[in-house]
Symmetry: C2
């Protein structure tokens, strides 16, 4: 089975990420944690985690999907050409599935991956409109937005986002592990 690439960056949101991780685990999906280097990365709530690969060690063909969690300052992360290039290149594969939550669609937008796709993003409206990367006509103000193989969501919908991603990957899992929602 091909793998899901999980990108770690400084101040990544642990809670937005980890329900999706648990769904991948339930479904037996192999995963790899990737960052700029293999140095440890501190999440926004303080959990220090170790990536398994640096971005330039990744063999793209082993992956069919990408998971991007939110982070306290996504515009800082987006300043790295390496993160943006990695996202653009890995995502260019046929049928590639992307799940991106909270502020992280900003990385996709800068990488050109959102072009012509319906999306949502957890950013202030004025920041979104001021950004040169987002197509305003394709923004959808819903908690979870699916357009083909692209799943974007607001941070508060992290459970539904993870469930949608697991279904898009045809995984078997129990969504009830994560409780009931309205």
């Amino acid at each position: 089975m091909k793998k899901t690439a999980i990108l770690l960056y400084p101040e990544f949101s642990e809670y937005e990420l980890t329900t999706a991780l648990s769904i991948l685990m339930q479904g037996g999906k192999p995963i790899t944690f990737i960052s700029l280097t293999k140095d440890s990365v501190r999440g926004e709530a303080g959990l220090v985690s170790l990536p398994e690969l640096a971005w330039n060690e990744v063999n793209y063909e082993e992956y069919d999907s990408l998971l991007l969690t939110g982070c306290t300052d996504i515009q800082e992360v987006a300043k790295s050409d390496d993160y943006i290039r990695f996202i653009k290149d890995i995502s260019s594969q046929e049928g590639f599935v992307i799940a991106s939550i909270s502020s992280s669609p900003f990385l996709l937008a800068k990488a050109g991956v959102l072009k012509g796709k319906k999306y949502t993003v957890g950013m202030y409206e004025e920041d979104r409109k001021a950004s040169p990367y987002f197509e305003e006509e394709n923004f959808v103000g819903e908690l979870v937005v699916e357009d083909g193989n692209l799943i974007t969501a607001w941070g508060s919908a992290f459970i539904e986002w993870g469930v949608t991603f697991g279904k898009a990957l045809n995984l078997e899992f129990e969504a009830a592990w994560y409780g009931k929602r309205n």
Copy 2:
């Protein structure tokens, strides 16, 4: 402000832990990740994390609270006398607050910390009843159970559990970050 100790063990549940972590971050509560040693610890969904202190480096007086997440095989963790001694000793402080989710109340039970307290635990009923550590008359079959400074919960109630813990610590935070529940 005194700190919250967060115990990491092999196969710890990342998703059960991280909403509570985010609430501690929102509330400005200092935290420390603690394990048997400072070696990295792999969570049940594959996230490899670094503890900041080994259990025998901890100055108990700096802490007013303990966070215990679930894990795939809590009985394996409970075989370590060091984990159990640490939990027993740090919890013996006056007014100490404990939040324990999913299977992790098993560690509290073995450490004697559940004695005379109402609790819940995410374990099969037969395993709970077969264990010599749980007081069956104090088990409560509810998603979140508070008895004084002790908060226990089922894994699926990880958001409500984190919110209850944040309130018990008198922290200010926005529960809306984590979405709506029934």
